[in-house]
Amino acid sequence: MDTLIDIRGVTHAYQTKHGPLPVLDDLNLSVPEGEFCAVVGPSGCGKSTLTRLVAGLMKPDQGEVFLHGEKITGPRKTVGMAFQNPVLLEWRSILENVILPLEIVAPGMARADKIARAEHLLDMVGLKGFETKRPSELSGGMRQRASLCRSIVHKPEVLIMDEPFGALDNFTREDLWQTMRDLRAAEPFTAVLITHDLRESVFLGDQVVVLSGRPARTQYVLDVDLPSDRTIDILYEPTAVNMLHDLRDQIRIAQGRDGGAH
């Protein structure tokens, strides 16, 4: 398959009061079209910076990010984003929240079509009947489901997620993993998922990329060779458990580097 996202030699530093703070150091990463790339690494290692680079919301000091072989120079309509905070607009109903990106990306689309598309997605994530509710009337997990619908309503090529399930309790999180899996089966997109949860990375990812401590570089790439219709139970089977051990070791190395040489 073709490479969709290609990150080549990206180095970036933030300017702070105490001088430059390097966050990414010669980072390389490529995600084939349709694949799900989970990125794990110690906290504060520059994972969120990575999402903003791929989204075209900022430019790296050095190196390049390509999408379909085309250099990213700014935001583009073919990207969807979801964050740990569902950032739903409190003055809009759930349905209107999901429609929001269409108002920017497809202003000419008929309103009935926008509604139909949003209703279809909400139905898929189990929010049928909640279309007219306000975000504040929904639980945290439901809000995050609505937020996921919003991030893919305009059929983006790339879905960028920055710890979208990080604030949820364990069982709700596992529910959402399965929702994510089902959405992927129904709607093809390439995904970059930033997470702290190794089980999540193995359950959802086609590949798991471990970033080193700050400044981050690609330390390790794991190909997750599991069937695409996985269930939560698979995480307790030897293949997956071995992968988790493997990743755990890599995180330990990544943390060691952070506390050691730097």
Partner: protein
């Protein structure tokens, strides 16, 4: 409509008037020392025409000043909300200006714009009431979480679109909170001019003529009329808030 919602504030007002009546009666104050609520109907009856004319004068000038404050305060708040430099530059000036007792500006304005009574009065209502609006809009915009910008920014939406679809509606609850403060301030501004440089218009000048004639019931009747106008305008703002920012109100649990 919930009858309790009307009865509760009404009862508290009646209780207040009864207390006032009682204090005056218990101290045996004559009405050239302190008027009591029972003196007021006579004053309203005697001067009802003046009350109508002057209330209108006070009201329209207050609302005009307030409208200016909304436009100017919101614009200033936008500038301060989006630019750190503007914030650093404008805050000391604004706070300093706001700390000046506005009564001292009445003669300044009167000399600057001699004879422009309506203009002076509107200007003062504006000057005294734009500050809370500017500050709250500024804070509302500058504290917008970056993710709110990113959900549309990542799609290439313009700054104006992000402002219109996200920043502006998100700031509305803060804006209305400030507007409620500004309403009462604007009345103070209008009456400062009407009382300090009376020119025969507005409730302030009616108060002033009551003071000159030692007509205490008239003076108190003016104060109550002012309070009444303030309440009316306040609830007009509350009604607008319900329409435009009603979503911010959480259901009582």
């Amino acid at each position: 409509m919930d009858w309790k919602k009307i009865a509760t504030p009404l009862l508290s007002i009646i209780a207040f008037l009864a207390f006032w009546e009682f204090i005056v009666w218990a101290n045996n104050w004559p009405n050239y020392v302190m008027a009591s609520p029972s003196d007021l109907p006579a004053a309203y009856e005697k001067y009802w025409k003046l009350f109508l004319i002057d209330s209108w004068q006070t009201l329209w000038r207050t609302v005009a000043g307030l409208a200016l404050a909304v436009v100017f305060g919101t614009s200033l708040g936008m500038v301060m909300g989006f630019s750190r430099t503007a914030r650093d530059a404008l805050y000391p000036l604004l706070v300093g200006f706001n700390a000046i007792p506005k009564a001292t500006l009445v003669p300044v304005l009167a000399l600057l714009f001699i004879g422009q009574h309506d203009f002076n009065t509107v200007l003062m209502a504006f000057l005294i009431s734009f500050f809370p609006i500017a500050v709250s809009v500024g804070i509302g915009l500058s504290t917008l979480e970056p993710e709110y910008r990113d959900i549309l920014g990542a799609l290439g939406a313009s700054k104006l679109t992000i402002f219109r679809k996200i920043a502006l509606p998100k700031t509305l609850p803060e804006f209305f909170g400030a507007l409620k403060v500004s309403v009462t301030l604007a009345f103070i501004g209008t009456n400062l001019v009407e009382i300090i440089s009376p020119h025969g218009k507005g409730l302030g000048s009616l108060f002033q003529s009551g003071a000159t004639n030692g007509d205490y019931p008239l003076m108190f009747a003016v104060l109550i009329a002012l309070a009444f106008l303030g309440i009316v305008l306040y609830y007009a703002v509350v009604a607008l808030e319900k329409v435009f920012a009603g979503w911010a109100e959480r259901p009582a649990s």
